[in-house]
Amino acid sequence: MSLLEFQGVERRFPVRRGLLDALLRREHVWLHAVRGVDLAVRPGEILGIVGESGCGKSTLARIGIGLQPADAGAVIFDGAPLNGPDPKGRLQMVFQDPYSSLNPRMTIGAQLEEVVAHYRPGLTRAERQGRVARMLDEVGLVQETAQKFPHALSGGQRQRVSIARALCPDPQVLIADEPVSALDASVQAQIINLLRRLNREKGLTIVFISHDMNVVRYLCDRVAVMYLGEVVELNDSAALFAEPRHPYTRALIGAVPDVHHPHREGLPVRGEIPDPFAVLQGCRFAPRCPLAETACHRPQSLDALASGGAVRCWKAVSGTLS
C-alpha cells in the first residue's frame, strides 16, 4: 500500500533556442525532464531521491505536491489522482533556500499564522497563535522567534521555520528538496535530526531529495537514483549502498570523497551529463558507462531483482555486470 504514487509520470518543457528560432517560428525543442517515472512512496518511510543536477529530481518533487502538472501519467495521493495542490495541505514541501521561501517583510509569527488561517479558517486568533507556538516548539525554536523577521535568523533557524510552516496544516507527506544543501555541516546535522524525529515520532512520511550521498545513506529507508529523467535504481538504502547494481549508482557512490578513506578503487566516469536535448536510444548512461556495449543501446526497463530492489540495466539484471 502506498501513500503517494507516481505512475508513468512524464514532464517536458518547451525550449526555444534563440531569437532566430522564434522569428522563423521553428518548432519548440523539447527538454524531457522526467520520463516515465513509476515510484511508490510507502506510508511512514523516508524515501530518498538522488541524482546530479538536471536529473529531474526537483521537477518530480514539484509534480509530487501538485505544483506542476504531469504531461503524461498520474500522481495518486491517498487513493485519488492529484490535480493541483491538495486543498487540505496534506502534501507539503520544504525548499533548499529558506531565505527566498520566506516573506522578508513579515514576522515569522505572522507568516505561520497566515498558513494556519488558510487551512483552518474557523480558528480564533488566540487558537492560531497557540498552534504557531506549538509548531515553533516542534522544530526546536524559542517562542521569541515569532516576533522576528527572516533576516534576523541564521540559515539553520530559517530552515526550521520553513519546516514549521510545512507542518502547520498537519501534512501526511513532506517533500524536502535539498533542505540541508545550503547549510554548514554542524547545522545540517540539527536539521537532519529534526527530520528523523518528525518521521519517528509523528509518523511523517518524507520524500528527501538530495545530491549528497552521505546524507541520503544516513537518513533514508529507501533510495531511488535518477539519471536524465529516469529512475535507474531503487532499493533499500542499506542494500543500495552495500551493493549498488547500476553502473551509474556505483559511479555516484564511488565519487563521494570519504573523510577517512582517501584512496578509492575504480575509474572515474567519463565526461559529464550529456546535452539533455540529445536523443539517446536505450540506456541514457551508456555514453559515460565504462561497461557499456552495443546491446546497451536498446531500450532499458526498470526490472525487479530477485534479491530485492529494481534496476534499469540489462547487464545488472542478467548478472553479466563484472
Partner: protein, 329 residues
C-alpha cells in the same frame, strides 16, 4: 625553506556595524609541491585568508591590517603595492575561483582568453600564444581541444569551464595555485575528475596548491597537510591523516562527529549547538568556548590560545585543555 609563510595575518573588513576581523592572527606554511587544505564553515575566514595572499577583495572594504605573507624569493606580499602585485599575480601565484562562469569573460572565445593571460606576461606572438593555449587545454584533458579553442564559455559544461580556468591558472607555470572551493559548484562525479586533475598537475609540474573547502572529504582525497579555521583563527593544523583520523581540537572533533557518514543509522547525529561568534567583537579567550562541550571557565578569558604541539610534532592545536574526551563517547 617553505614556499609560502604566512605569519600572524590580520585582515579587516569595515562595515556600518564596525570592523570585522575576518582573519585574526593566522599563521601557516606551504611547502614546495604540497597541497595544503584550509577547511572551516561559512564565515570562518578561509576565503578571506587566501584572498589576502593576492589582495583580491573584489572591491570590498577590506585591508590587510598586520602580519606577513612571505613568498620565497619574492618578499612580503602583505606590504606590496598594486604595481608589484601585478608581477606576482598569475605568474607566481594563480587563483581559481569557485564559479568558473564568473571567472571567464562571456564575450571572448576560450582560446583567446587563455592566450591573453600568456601575452599579458610574456612577449610572444598571437600564433605562439594560441599554440600554447592548445597545449594547456590538452594538459587539463579537455576533449577535442582544437574545437574548444573557438568556443564561448556558455557553450561548455561546468566541468569543462573549470578545466579552462585551471588551464589559465597553469599558463604561466606559477609556483603556487590558490583554489577557493574549486569543485563546490560541480556534480560529485565531475568533482572527482577535477580533484584527480589537480593532483595530477601537481605531481607533474611540482606546483604547490592551497585548496580552500568546506568539505572534509575533499581535503581527505587530495591534500597533504591542512588547517582547520574557526572564527578567523586556525584552531588545528597538521598532516591530513593526523587531523582527520586523530583530531585533537574540540571543534575539529565536533565537526567530524556532525557528518552523517560517521554515524550509524540507529543513533542521532551530533550537531554543534549555537552558531559561530560575530567577528566585530568576538568573545574573549577561545572563540569556540561558548559552543564547546568541554569548556571550562579558564577557556573564556584573555587572548585566544595560540597553536601548540599536541603529542606528535607538526600536529598543532589551539586548545588549552590537556585531555579532550572523545566527543562521541
Amino acid at each position: 625553506m617553505s614556499l609560502l609563510s604566512i605569519r600572524d595575518l590580520r585582515t579587516e573588513f569595515s562595515g556600518p556595524a564596525g570592523i570585522a576581523r575576518a582573519v585574526d592572527g593566522v599563521s601557516f606554511d606551504v611547502e614546495p609541491g604540497e597541497i595544503f587544505g584550509i577547511v572551516g564553515e561559512s564565515g570562518c575566514g578561509k576565503s578571506a585568508t587566501c584572498r589576502s595572499i593576492l589582495h583580491l577583495f573584489g572591491g570590498a572594504p577590506a585591508r590587510i591590517a598586520g602580519g606577513q605573507i612571505l613568498l620565497e624569493g619574492t618578499g612580503d606580499i602583505a606590504r606590496m603595492t598594486e604595481r608589484d602585485l601585478s608581477r606576482v599575480r598569475g605568474r607566481e601565484v594563480a587563483f581559481i575561483f569557485q564559479d568558473p562562469l564568473t571567472a571567464l569573460n562571456p564575450t571572448m572565445r576560450i582560446g583567446k582568453q587563455i592566450a591573453e593571460v600568456i601575452r599579458c606576461h610574456r612577449k610572444v606572438s598571437k600564433t605562439e600564444a594560441r599554440a600554447a593555449a592548445l597545449d594547456l587545454l590538452r594538459e587539463v584533458q579537455v576533449t577535442s581541444p582544437e574545437r574548444r579553442l573557438d568556443a564561448y564559455p556558455h557553450e561548455l559544461s561546468g566541468g569543462l569551464r573549470q578545466r579552462v580556468v585551471i588551464a589559465m591558472a597553469l599558463a604561466l607555470r606559477p609556483r603556487l595555485i590558490i583554489a577557493d572551493e574549486p569543485t563546490t559548484a560541480l556534480d560529485v562525479t565531475v568533482q572527482d575528475q577535477i580533484l584527480r586533475l589537480l593532483r595530477e598537475r601537481r605531481d607533474s609540474t611540482g606546483t604547490s596548491i592551497i585548496l580552500v573547502t568546506h568539505d572534509l572529504g575533499v581535503v581527505s582525497q587530495i591534500c597533504d597537510r591542512m588547517a582547520v579555521m574557526y572564527a578567523g583563527r586556525v584552531v588545528e593544523t597538521g598532516s591530513v591523516r593526523q587531523v582527520l583520523d586523530t583530531p585533537s581540537h574540540p571543534y575539529t572533533r565536533a565537526l567530524l562527529a556532525a557528518l552523517p557518514g560517521q554515524t550509524g543509522r540507529e543513533r542521532d547525529l551530533t550537531p554543534i549547538e549555537g552558531s559561530p561568534p560575530g567577528l566585530i567583537s568576538p568573545p574573549p579567550g577561545c572563540r569556540f568556548a561558548p559552543r564547546c562541550r568541554f569548556a571550562r571557565p579558564e577557556c573564556a578569558v584573555g587572548q585566544p590560545p595560540a597553536l601548540h604541539p599536541r603529542g606528535e610534532t607538526a600536529h598543532l592545536d589551539a586548545c588549552i585543555l590537556t585531555e579532550v574526551p572523545d566527543v562521541l563517547a
